[in-house]
Symmetry: C2
Subunit: 395 residues, 2 copies
């Protein structure tokens, strides 16, 4: 089972056009920053890097929350961080489920002994706030959690009304922004989000490995007044905050080079400007959908509930899911994602996230898909590229 | 609290000689591999990278265990992974404590509801197997845990006898190899270690961010026959193993570029050869100690219990801990560590780990320390460099 080191060759991944549900393509600037010399996690220069990173992340989250940091793990570690810090055994927790990531939240709540109440919605549609109101009626949950951008379905969930419902019931409002952050407007303070987590490998165009989170003062109150210790030592924010705060107390060794990369990704976003970035994501999404629909293919999600950074295409009759994805990767170097859970074999998930959200990628993908489907004998209409071009012409 | 992006300048950490307790200096090859283009976590090429990484890691751990992988977090996440997977609430767990990292293990056991039994040893000495035998007598613990290389004290813990004691009592033997792996012999299978975790930023000379672990069949049996789910979704090896195994089932997005770096660090180790690498660490340690003792300074740990990669020097009378460390960093670009816990202000921790374990670094450090202590008016003897040179002459 071990390996002869002489058989392990130089690393050479080549390049891919990453149009799956993440990771997205990483810019050369981010890769370069990541490969700067590693220094100590208590080095004065690194402490300044941490401060700048937190400042930039607050800007992106649109928050003033002091505890706004990247957790030392991938997006799912961010999800786990929020639940283990804010929920104690026996606490009532409402989880809205309309895809894989809501299901994952429910799983975590149960593992840590939370009293789980679910609001189930159709996969491919947003959750109706009325359903949330009903489920919560007469209850006083500790926390209500929902996914902003369901990466498994491509659905964008409205947050304002549900934030109000949570707060009326005295619950913290926790939002999964793994896929939305950096690709569409997220206003943590204005929307009244008490705790939020995200990932770096989606619209931030940074390699996977960190989970940006932010807790407001209500969340910090809950954390500071726990009766039981946080079940995870590694993710215990009551200790981690001392390292990211003014005390600089060692907790665990921060992933230095990943934080270099993250800081650079945030700088790039700040330079582009939030409005311009979100407009870019919208425009490329619109052109993409125009092309897909011109081909005669359909999008899983109704127009008003679509995400700008993740498109879910129903697999047309006669097309072989795996065969098409393999041809995209092999012949065109394009990675897309398949469906998860109930949607496996039924949809393709095509990301236009961060650095990947560019006209050239929209055009290449439409051309590649058209070529492959035609070769497979799938009946499709022409005019995809023209339809996309028209959208760009309009802008 | 947010930051004006225009005030955040290009990243420029400069270079440091990392002679603290980790991170150690990372070689250019590792940094270069880390900055290769990010590809998907289910990309066929990345799957081959995973296989090679596992093979190389088995070679380094000296094990045939199928579950031998890097966990997606830093060393402490590796510690937590072992406990949350192998311990259930109410399980009796023996933790040997002779420094900060034993204390951390005990903390984790209590958080997850384990029934903790501690064997406490002096900080700066190895744990006496007799003390372990006594503590375990008449008990049937589920697991016995100990730190191989206590990074807080510089002590090397003998493992063979304690492995036998654990197994006689029917307990799993869990070992913390965060600092030892890659710098001294570790023989997981031969020593009878059932579960082990490590970090990448010590003797592997890879940036922090991953925690190599390995579970043998006894540990896997315990995991597969649990009565309760693993409290951590993120670190649940019963799911993570399906991603690293033949099923390739998506769990969380792997930290792709960190795994590139880790694979390259493992390749470098395999190319050097384990014996040569361990001999290098021993030799530089010997020269270092000869120099330190020639100055009239003393090492905290008795000679027979010293680690080759981490030296703990008693701070001499008249020397100001912080001032000396600041001067080392500012005037010579050298980072060393201070004492932790009970040893704060009493010792300096000087690492010679992985890439950092080199004659040029030993010599520079001795010269720098001598200069600073003399300038501080601390009474020290001369001849440090000569004493070190003599050791190299002998080899």
């Amino acid at each position: 089972m071990t390996v002869d080191p002489n058989t392990v060759r130089d690393l050479d991944p080549g390049t891919r056009l990453l149009m799956g549900p993440g990771p997205s393509n990483v810019s050369a600037r981010v890769l370069q920053a990541m490969s700067a010399p590693c220094i100590g996690h208590l080095d004065p220069y690194f402490l300044s890097v941490m401060d700048e990173t937190q400042g930039l992340l607050r800007f992106l989250f649109q928050t003033e929350n002091p505890l706004t940091i990247p957790v030392s793990g991938t997006g799912s570690a961010g999800m786990e961080t929020c639940f283990v810090n804010l929920v104690e055994p026996g606490d009532e927790v409402v989880v809205c489920i309309h895809g894989v990531f809501g299901t994952r939240m429910a799983d975590i709540v149960q593992r840590i002994g939370g009293n789980l109440i679910t609001v189930e919605g159709e996969w491919g549609r947003a959750i109706d706030p009325e359903a949330v109101r009903k489920a919560i009626k007469g209850r006083s949950p500790k926390l209500l959690a929902i996914v902003h951008a369901e990466t498994s379905t491509g659905v964008c969930q409205g947050l304002e009304e549900i934030a109000g419902i949570a707060h009326e019931a005295g619950a913290l409002f926790l939002v999964d922004m793994v896929t939305s952050l950096g690709g569409m407007e997220v206003t943590v303070d204005k929307t009244g989000i008490d705790a939020v987590y995200s990932g770096t490998q989606k619209c931030l165009s940074c390699p996977p490995g960190l989970a940006p989170i932010s807790f407001n003062s209500s969340a910090m109150d809950i954390l500071e007044n726990r009766k039981s210790p946080v079940v995870s030592w590694y993710l215990d924010m009551s200790m981690v905050k001392s390292y990211w705060g003014t005390e600089r107390k060692y907790h665990h060794t921060a992933p230095i080079n990943m934080i270099y990369a993250f800081r650079e990704a945030l700088r790039i976003i700040a330079e582009e400007g939030l409005e311009a970035r979100f407009a870019r994501h919208k425009l490329n999404h619109k052109a993409f959908v125009a092309g897909i629909e011109a081909m005669g293919l359909t999008i899983l999600v109704p127009q008003s509930e679509r995400l700008p950074m993740l498109n879910t295409i129903r697999i047309p009759e006669g097309a072989d899911d795996t065969k098409v994805r393999r041809a995209l990767l092999k012949d065109f170097g394009i990675e897309i994602g398949g469906g998860l859970g109930a949607l496996q074999g039924k949809i393709w998930r095509v990301g236009l996230m961060g650095h990947t959200s560019h006209r050239k990628n929209v055009v290449l993908f439409l051309a590649a898909l058209e070529t492959i489907l035609k070769a497979e004998g799938v009946s499709i209409k022409g005019g995809a590229l023209e339809a996309a071009s028209e959208v760009y012409g309009e802008s």
